[in-house]
Every structure is written in C-alpha cells, then in structure tokens.
C-alpha cells in the first residue's frame, strides 16, 4: 500500500483538528458545541443519524451524534451530556474545553441511517434526542408522517426541547418524568402495524423495553442507536440515584444519576484515587461493607462480581438504596 492510497483514505478514518466556534449550555446538564475547520474549509458531509468521534487530550475517544443540519458543511453541531462517570470524556468537554480550542475529530460515520418509510415514530430519552434532530428534518423533507416522543428527567435537564416544539408544533410530545412519570411505551406505540419505522435512542433500559414491545411488530420496524459500547457507563445511563456511606471517612453522600461514586467522594474530600475511569486499571478498587454493587467494570470476573466484596467505584454503581464502602 502506498501513500497514494493513504491520501485517498476516506475522511471518515483520518483525524482532523477542528476548532470550537461556540460552546453554550443547552440544559442544566448538556452543552452544545459548534465545531468548525480552523481555516474555514468545508467539513466532510453526513446523513441524519451520523456521529463523529472526539479524541480528547486525555487519550480517550468519545462518539457524539451530529444534531445540526447536514446541508450546512461549515460546522458540526453536537449536544453533550455531562456524564462524570466518563471522566476525562464528557466532563472534560464541560469543564476543560473552551471556545477557540482545537479538538481532534474523526468521522462522520453512520450506523443509524434513516430508511425510507411513509411513517416514523421517533423516541428519544435524554441526550438520545441528538441523532433524532436531523432525522426529523429529513422525515419532514420526505413528506412522511412522523412524531417524536422526547423523554427525560425534567424539562430543565432536557436539551433543545423549546427549539423542537417551536419548529414542529403538534408533532413533538415532551415527556419529563417529573411531570408525567415514566410513559407507558406500549400505549405510546399502539397496535403493531405495517408501514411504520420506530427509531429510538436512549439508555439501555428504554431500548430493552422497546425491543420487548416491538417483538410483536413486523420485522425491521425497530431501529436503535446504542450509546458507544466504549463508554459502558453511558450505555447503561443510570436512571436512579443511591446513597453511599464512606465508613472510614464517616460521610454519607448522594450519588445522583450521571455521576460516579469516585467523583462524588472526591468532591466531598474523601481519599480516593483513580486513573482510567473506565473500569480497566484497578486503581479505584474498593471494598464493599454492605449493600449490593451494580458492577460495570471489566476487571472483576463473574464470580468476583457475584461475591459482592470489591468494586471499581469509577464506573460501578449500586443496586441497593445504600451502599457502604471501606473508604
């Protein structure tokens, strides 16, 4: 293979530094980024459902859906959830990254294409709304019937809902849990029928539930975007909070959804150490004194997980309301 081929390598594989043109808050836990080529050059094209990969200075890579307009090749728009369980990932974007900074980017790539259909039902939860946004425009352009059900914890945590509601009145169903509780998905989708495609993006729990419901629908109805498996914490975006008792430090702390034990404990001044924040290096291993861990690391064997004696507190969480740690 020669450099010729290298030069023809599709833009999707090579990395390019892009510049942060703007960074602003889109909800109480989401920031919106606009990335441009530093020389103002055109960016590689993409289709609704595509994502790009950000290569962060810490060495981590994270994938984010493009949520802007595919016809505009001057910039990429992203919505990024502050998920401290992927420290060095989204938390770097939230706190470390500033306007005019450069970031290495590869992509776009698309594993979530919008296939042709006379009708679409889009379901998004939380940050899962981002890949849906260009899909709505595309569905509209194709003249299809469609609606979006947009779920989230509360309106203040949900990004872009005002923008969507204003653009497509009557087609957007905003569903914050704190106002309506968790929706009855079966009732939302209605009876199985032909000619509908269901597109969904959100936490693993939602996607599993939809897989169950859509089992009775014509094959090929359901299209899912799972969060990048590289980021297991995000893939299983925790929907519940729990309390953690630090026996040695004599503290009891609340670990809200989207934050890790490590982060909460460090902030409170407890002595914690961590390195990879991905559940691979074993630096943060901590003994469990009571309660039941929800293991999400790749260090412990299945037997060790079942034994419930030790856990990696950078990614793992709790199945019980209270978890007591030797910390």
């Amino acid at each position: 293979m020669t450099s010729e081929t290298m030069l023809r390598t599709p833009a999707t594989l090579t990395r390019q530094p892009l510049q942060v043109r703007s960074k602003r808050s889109a909800s109480d836990c989401v920031v919106e980024l606009e990335l441009v080529h530093p020389d103002g050059a055109a960016l590689p094209g993409w289709q609704p459902g595509a994502h790009i990969e950000l290569h962060l200075p810490s060495g981590l890579s994270r994938q984010y859906s493009l949520c802007g307009n595919p016809d505009d090749n001057s910039s990429y728009r992203l919505g990024i959830l502050n998920d401290p369980t992927s420290r060095g990932g989204s938390s770097y974007v939230h706190t470390g990254l500033a306007e005019d900074d450069n970031l290495e980017v590869s992509g776009p790539r698309n594993n979530f294409e919008l296939v042709e259909s006379p009708e679409y039902h889009f379901l998004a939860a939380g940050i899962g709304v981002t890949p849906m946004m260009p899909m709505l425009d595309e569905a509209e352009r194709r003249g299809a019937r469609w609606k979006l059900t947009y779920m989230g914890r509360s309106r203040s945590s949900m990004a872009f809902w005002q923008e969507l509601a204003a653009k497509y009145p009557g087609k957007i169903d905003i569903h914050p849990d704190d106002e309506f509780g968790f929706p009855d998905l079966g009732a939302l989708l209605g009876k199985p029928r032909d000619g509908v495609k269901v597109y969904a993006c959100g936490p693993e729990g939602l996607l599993r539930a939809l897989e169950g419901i859509c089992a009775g629908w014509p094959a090929g109805t359901l299209h899912l975007e799972r969060f990048a498996p590289k980021d297991p914490a995000a893939a299983m975006a925790p929907a519940i909070s729990f309390r953690v008792k630090l026996a040695l430090s004599g503290m009891e702390l609340e670990v809200p959804p989207g934050r890790s034990i490590v982060e909460v404990a460090e902030e409170a001044g407890a002595p914690v150490i961590f390195s990879c924040m991905e559940g691979t290096c074993g630096t943060c291993e901590t003994r469990i004194l009571s309660g039941e861990a929800d293991h999400r690391d790749s260090v412990l064997s299945d037997e060790e997980k079942a034994a419930n004696e030790m856990m990696m507190i950078c990614v793992s969480r709790s199945k019980s309301d209270v978890l007591e740690l030797e910390l």
């Binding site: 293979m1 020669t2 450099s3 290298m6 200075p57 810490s58 450069n102 074993g282 291993e285 790749s298």
Partner: protein, 405 residues
C-alpha cells in the same frame, strides 16, 4: 504451620536455580523470564531467597490485593536516594494521599494543555527529520530521546541545560532493586552525576509559577501532602518519567521495523494508533518487574507463599503469557488486548504517569503514521542491559517519507 485452611492442591513453590540478574539473563530477559513463567505461576528463587510471580493472571491478582501483597518492602530494598519511599514503597493510607496528589497534576486539564504542545513538537520533529527525503537514523537517540527530552521537561519547566542527565538518573533508578554487582555499581555511579541536577531542579524555589512542580508544592501549602512529599513526588516523576518513555518508544519503532506489514496496516487504518502503542508495550515493557512482600501466608495460583516472603512481580514475562495472549511473541497492531496488559502495573500502584506516557507516545506515533511511508531496519537493533528496565538504545532505521499531495 496449620493445615486447616490450606487445600490439598496447594503446592510449595518450585525451587528454581534461576538468576534473574546474571549478565547472561540480562542479555535476553524475554526468553529467560519466559522459561520461569512456564514452570509455575510462582517460583522460589533460591539464590536470593525471593519468590517470583510469573504469570499474567496471578500477577494481576496480587497487584489488586495490596493488603496481602504490600509495597512497604520488597526484594533488595535498602534506603536509596535514587528511589525515595514516596509512592512506590507506600501502602494506603499514605499511598492514597501521595497518589491523589500526583494524579491531580496529570488531570484532564493539564493533559489538554500538554496535548496541543506535544502534537506541534512531534510534527515539527518528524518534518525536520524528513526534510531532505528518506532519513537514516538511530530511532532511539534521533527520534525518541530527542522528542521526549524536549516535550516533557518543557512541560515540567526544566532548563535545557543538563536534561540528558535525566536518562542517567533513570538508568540508576532502574538498577537499584537488584543484587550488588559491577553492573549495578556502574549504573549507580553514572546516576550520581545526575543527582545534584535533580536535587536542585526539584527544589521549591526553582519551580515556575503554574508548572507541575509549583502545583505539587501548592498542594503542600493546602495541607494535602507535606512539603517533603511534594519534593519526593517530583523526584519520582524525574526518576520514572523519562527513560521509561524513551525506551518504550524506541522499542515500538523496532517492532514496526521488524513487522513492515503492521506499519502498512496502521497506515491504512490510523484509528489503530492507540491500540498499536498498547500492543508495543505489551511486547516490550519498559519495566521488567516490580516488588512486594507478603503480609500473611497466602496461596496464589495454587502455590503457597509464606508470610514475610519478598516477591518479584515479573510483568515483562507476563506480557507474553500464552494463557493470556494468542501468539504472544507476535506484534499485531489490531490485537484485541481486551483493555489489559500489565506494562503499567495494575491496581493502586498503576503507573502514575500512564496518561502522560500514553499521550506522548500516541501523539508521536500519529505524527509518524501521517508522514512516514516505510520504516526499515538498516542494522542490528541493540537492547539495553539493566536489572529492572528493558529497552533499546540502538534502533538503526531508514524512514521513507510519504509522498504528500
């Protein structure tokens, strides 16, 4: 000794006549450490009276269990100015405070600043090397050392003058934990030349405002660590942060020169850069072993280890453990490492500088992949001879630039 809680399958460690520190061994550590690995997961090295853990799974297990496998003493330990006790010879809770401090100075924010700088320097260096077309170089001195001794000391705020002493210092540091010998005496003597430079450049008053050293001393002001610890941590960074990375990068280039197909694979898929680097240090770890002692009698991999035993964790050999890796002697940039190797250690003593080392190496490799079409050996590579460090100090290669658009 009681027999109550010891299973019948438990064996005593096979007694081995292996001398892990003889000059003959040091010429070919992969082969000799590998032979011990195939005897048993734990062997008893009779000559020195130490135990050695030889296999991947057992080393990982031991490194996770710091209560049983303590760091506060180790084979060949005697107080040494080259190896301060801070971090490496500490257990929790002291270790936790020191480690939190050193991780803090390599947090996402500091790494972000380093990243931009490393990239610019890596690209400049490669562009210069290739300015007149294909270049024949020693990848250790002309590329790896040049790059590492430029970027990391710059980030630390060290003077240009005397930087090469860091390599001598590191070379001594990585020969402390071993038996007295001519080799050790020579390494320590050469390291002594560097001691004064290291002492004066870790002193509080020379640290530039906002720099890494300044941040450490500021943590001392906040009461998070003592001022003495701040200086010892800085010294540990000097000790562990240079010849490890220079050796690893030179070894990685050798791996590519030996495997031209892998370079092509990487050129076709630059997304594999990060994985390629991890694979290179699995194959050629810069650190050959670590040390622990058993706080109580224990059984590891079916082998009894008595209370008080001093133990070598032989992670260089574990990087080629066939129980963990298929075709372990081969270099494959797309090998599925399943997130793991032991070349940065594991558990609470995981390399404090792993993120910096990774950033340095990946940044350089990325700049190379974009610019270099071919890497060919032009002579015999030469390995270094050390107790604890492994590397290459001579990797003669021809670099052929990629034809740009």
């Amino acid at each position: 000794m009681t027999e109550t809680n010891i299973l019948p399958e438990v064996i005593e460690a096979p007694v081995s006549g292996y001398d892990a520190f003889s000059l003959e061994t040091l010429q070919d550590v992969h082969t000799f450490d590998g032979e011990q690995r195939e005897i048993a997961p734990v062997v008893y090295m009779e000559k020195y009276g130490y135990y050695a853990i030889t296999r991947y799974a057992e080393i990982q297990k031991a490194l996770r269990d710091w209560r049983t496998f303590s760091s506060t003493d180790r084979p060949f330990y005697a107080p040494s100015a080259f190896r301060p006790r801070t971090l490496i010879l500490e257990d929790p809770p002291e270790h936790t405070a020191s480690k939190a401090a050193v991780f803090k100075v390599f947090d996402a924010e500091n790494l972000a600043k380093m990243s931009t700088y490393f990239k610019a320097e890596a690209e400049r260096l490669i562009d210069n090397l290739l300015a007149d077309g294909p270049a024949e170089i020693n990848a250790y001195t002309d590329l790896s050392v040049k790059y590492v001794l430029k970027v990391f000391p710059d980030v630390l705020g060290l003077p240009e003058e005397g930087r090469e002493l860091l390599l001598k210092f590191g070379d001594a540091v990585f020969n402390v934990f071993g038996p007295p010998s001519d080799l050790q005496a020579a390494k320590l003597a050469s390291g002594t030349e560097a001691m004064e430079w290291v002492e004066s450049n870790t002193a509080r008053d020379v640290q530039a405002d906002g720099g890494i050293g300044w941040q450490l001393y500021s943590m001392a002001d906040e009461g998070k660590i003592s001022e003495h610890t701040a200086q010892q941590i800085l010294k540990s960074i000097f000790a562990a942060g240079f010849d490890t990375t220079t050796a690893s990068i030179a070894s990685m280039i050798r791996a590519f020169a030996d495997n031209p197909g892998e370079w092509q694979k990487l050129r076709e898929n630059p997304g594999l850069v990060d994985n390629a680097w991890e694979e290179a240090i699995r194959l050629y770890p810069a650190s050959r072993y670590g040390g622990r002692w058993a706080t109580k009698e224990t059984v590891l991999g079916g082998v009894r280890i008595p209370e008080g035993a001093k133990i070598l964790t032989m992670w260089l050999g574990a990087g080629r453990d066939p129980r963990q890796y298929d075709a372990p002697d081969e270099f494959h940039v797309d090998r599925d490492l399943k997130n793991a190797h032991l070349s940065f250690g594991f558990g609470i003593h995981t390399c404090a500088g792993n993120q910096v080392a990774r950033l340095e190496a990946r940044t350089l490799l990325r700049a190379m992949v974009e610019r270099i079409e071919k890497i060919e050996l032009t002579g015999e590579p030469r390995k270094t001879v050390n107790y604890q460090a492994f590397g290459h100090d001579h990797v003669p290669v021809r670099l052929t630039p990629a034809v740009s658009a």
